[in-house]
């Protein structure tokens, strides 16, 4: 089960992910991000506080936009990941390529 909620805050687009991202629903995440890019968003924040699990297909979604973010100068940040989920990012090495922060405050201030 995955719930995605979109918010707009001080020029940031926030996507709040709730539940689990796996192969069956990673398309939802893909669509949400694609829509933000198409809408010309300049800064995207992913709120992962309530994200319980992410599979390799979910990671693939983030991965596939890394180039786009770079090209279009989009500030993409993730915060609030649980230790378990963060571990998944780390094992794959994605933490080396993405801006991951412990909480919203640090994500906004740095």
């Amino acid at each position: 089960m995955l719930n995605i909620k979109g918010l707009q805050e001080n020029g940031y687009h926030i996507l709040i992910l709730e539940g689990e991202v796996d192969a069956s629903n990673s398309v939802l995440l893909d669509e949400s991000i694609q829509k933000l890019i198409a809408d010309g968003s300049e800064a995207i924040l992913i709120d992962g506080k309530r994200l319980e699990y992410i599979s390799s297909a979910g990671l693939g979604v983030f991965m596939s936009y890394l180039e786009d973010f770079q090209e279009k100068n989009i500030d993409f940040r993730i915060f609030g990941l649980s230790e378990k989920v963060l571990e998944v990012f780390k094992i794959l090495g994605l933490h080396q390529l993405m801006a991951i922060f412990p909480d919203k405050q640090t994500a906004l201030s740095s």
Binding site: G60, L66, I91, G93
Partner: protein
């Protein structure tokens, strides 16, 4: 009843009838001889009557036996048989008439014996005609019988039997009791004559034929009756056989039934086509409901539908449109119409829809049968019938007529029945096809499964310095997990384990690519780092945008007792250190293959060389093992795997692997299914 086997009642009764007739003739001629010579022959008149009754009964038995053996005869055949018998009797009596005409006033013409012989022949033929006809009428009357009709017929038979014996009571005189009996029997006959249910089942042509036959029967009946009335001269014919209540009332019955049948058939002629139409509709319906056989296709069902509807509504032209999967309209079938006229009519139908147009009724309009008047030089009315499966339109049929308001409610009712039946057939057909297709896909997947299994090595390269064991299981038919080995030389071996993001068929394809890349690159004797860099660059051109592959690679050198390891985003390998009696995950940085598809990837690769000693164990696995969940939603996890290896480290690689996988299955629960591919490779150094 006494059983009389081996006796043919038909032949026996025929023989008896002939014998009875001959004795009747003999008795009467003897009596005549006595009268002529004034000698009392001593033969009572009752004797003649008994023989006459016996003759009637024998003929009855013979014919009822004969008809029951040929009960499959069609109506027309039966009527023809009656007519031919009548015709024969008429012809014979005409011949006798002609014979006497040719004799003129000669002595032979006055011969009373000859006259009586011919009288007996005439009597016999007339009786045969009447009795056989009555039995055939019985067959017709009892067609689609009800209990009431059967009772009536039985009453009639009993009454007729009584009429045979009436002659003993009445002594062959015409009195009131005779008249009373006659009226009663003819009345009963008239009541029975109302049963004419067989007539509608004749086709138009058959009706004409039966009219002809019935006419012959009427004429024969009349002729024979008049002729019989001629034998009243008491001096020439001392015994009157034919002024018999039984025969006269039979005449009445045969004649009235033939007359009724004739008239009803005649008046049924104009409506005959309607009945035939209804019969065709019933047959069409049957064909439609039977057309679900797998060898028949959808087009055949629609073909039958089209023909049935056209004949049910007497339509002049029609066509059928089916919606295809790509939403385009396909003109599946057309009858008596060309593309140009059809185009004109479609435009007219569209127009008339707008003129009725209530936008909010758009949906219901597509669902109901619609009758339209159209303004076309040739055609005046149209009926639009949507074809629906589960209330979803799959097409429409348009029937066109040259007359205004050409479709009545009966037609629309029968057409909608046809259409719904045909739609069920089409739906069944489609479901069947889908089932067959699904089965084929399943077969294909099974083939893919076999092909993929063949991609995993059956024999794992190793030497005496270590033993090795591997296991893999896919969540679906095919999966994205990969492991392999390669022998560089006697002392150096490469092990690899990989996991393609996602699962199922797409993952399986990438897994196959990974195998190709591994088997070709590894022969170049590359270091783990170089291998990963080159593999990343190769995969960058192969993988879909959101796909990546994680691998762990090991280069084991058994001479130096070392292994060189690099990790590309794969779950860390578990290592059991026998000197410390502890297991821990190998820590090394790395990035999955296909994530960074440029030169920058090189910055994210790292390799480390470790020393090993006897008793050390390596457990390579994929994330399906760690992420497997039990019923409480708890993951198997890194810590559980780590501590399990400390328990089982004493065993060889095969046993360790079996124990770990069993523990995993036990953790998930007996019926629990692991929703991801999971693999494991265990290396135990000797």
């Amino acid at each position: 009843m006494i059983k009389l086997p081996q006796i043919n009642f038909g032949k026996l009764s025929l023989l008896l009838a002939i014998l009875v007739w001959l004795s009747l003739l003999f008795v009467d001629l003897v009596r005549l001889f006595g009268i002529l010579n004034d000698i009392d022959s001593g033969i009572a008149i009752e004797f003649t009557w008994i023989l006459e009754i016996l003759f009637f009964l024998m003929v009855y038995v013979f014919y009822s036996n004969y008809i029951s053996q040929n009960s499959k005869n069609e109506f027309l055949n039966l009527i023809w048989r009656v007519a031919s018998t009548g015709l024969f009797a008429v012809v014979v009596s005409l011949l006798i008439f002609l014979f006497y005409g040719s004799l003129g006033e000669s002595r032979l013409a006055q011969e009373p014996f000859l006259r009586n012989l011919f009288y007996h022949i005439n009597f016999a033929l007339t009786s045969i005609f009447l009795i056989s006809s009555a039995l055939l009428w019985k067959h017709l009357i009892l067609y689609q019988k009800s209990k009431r009709v059967v009772k009536q017929w039985q009453a009639y038979e009993v009454a007729m039997l009584g009429a045979m014996f009436f002659i003993f009571f009445n002594q062959n005189t015409l009195d009131y009791s005779f008249l009373f009996g006659l009226v009663l029997l003819i009345g009963l006959g008239l009541v029975l004559s109302g049963n004419l249910k067989w007539i509608p089942y004749l086709t138009f042509k058959e009706k004409w034929k039966s009219l002809l036959f019935l006419f012959i029967i009427l004429i024969s009946c009349g002729f024979l009756f008049i002729q019989i009335q001629g034998y009243t001269n008491k001096t020439v014919y001392p015994v009157n056989l034919t002024d018999n209540l039984f025969l006269i009332s039979l005449f009445g019955f045969i004649f009235s039934y033939a007359l009724f049948s004739f008239l009803v058939t005649l008046f049924n002629l104009p409506t005959s086509s309607v009945f035939e139409q209804k019969l065709t509709e019933a047959i069409s319906f049957q064909r439609l409901s039977q057309s679900i056989k797998p060898e028949e296709n959808e087009d055949q069902v629609l073909d039958i539908l089209m023909d049935s509807c056209m004949s049910a509504s007497y339509a002049d032209a029609a066509w059928l449109e089916m919606a295809r999967e790509d939403l385009s309209i396909d003109f599946q079938l057309e009858r008596f119409i060309d593309a140009k006229t059809r185009g004109e009519l479609i435009a007219l139908i569209k127009e008339s829809k707008i003129s009725i147009g209530k936008p909010d009724e758009k949906l219901s309009k597509n669902v109901n049968i619609q009758e339209l008047r159209i303004d076309h030089p040739r055609f005046e009315s149209a009926l639009i019938i949507p074809l629906l499966i589960n209330k979803i339109p799959i097409g429409r049929m348009i029937l066109i007529k040259e007359v205004k308001d050409g479709f009545n409610n009966e037609m629309i009712n029968i057409i909608s029945t046809f259409v719904s039946q045909a739609c069920i057939s089409v739906e069944n057909h489609r479901l069947l096809n889908q089932a067959i297709l699904n089965e084929r896909y399943q077969e294909e997947l099974k083939i893919a499964q076999r092909v993929q299994k063949a991609l995993l090595p059956t024999k794992l390269d190793h030497n005496d310095s270590f033993n090795i064991s591997a296991y893999s299981n896919a969540a679906d038919e095919v999966g994205g997990d990969y492991y392999d080995t390669f022998k560089l030389d006697e002392d150096r071996f490469v092990l690899i384990i990989g996991d393609v993001s996602g699962k199922g068929t797409s993952a399986a394809f990438h897994m196959a690519q990974m195998k190709g890349i591994f088997q070709s690159l590894i022969q170049l004797n590359l270091s783990p780092t170089d291998f990963l860099i080159k593999a990343n660059s190769a995969l960058s051109k192969c993988l879909g945008r959101n796909h990546f592959i994680t691998v762990s690679i090991f280069l084991i050198n058994t001479e130096r007792k070392t292994f060189c390891h690099a990790r590309a985003g794969h779950v860390p390998t578990l290592h059991f250190n026998s000197s410390a009696s502890k297991s821990e995950y190998l820590e090394i940085d790395g990035l999955g293959l296909g994530i960074l598809r440029n030169k920058l990837y090189e910055n994210h690769v790292e390799e480390k060389t470790f020393n090993y000693q006897t008793g050390d164990t390596l457990v390579l696995y994929t994330d399906g093992v760690i992420e497997a969940k039990n019923h409480q939603g708890k993951q198997f996890g890194f810590e559980r795997l780590r501590s399990l290896l400390e328990i089982y480290n004493e065993h060889n690689s095969k046993e360790i692997q079996t124990n770990l996988i069993d523990s995993l299955h036990h953790f998930v629960g007996g019926d629990g299914k692991i929703d991801d591919d999971y693999s494991m490779m265990v290396v135990k150094f000797n």
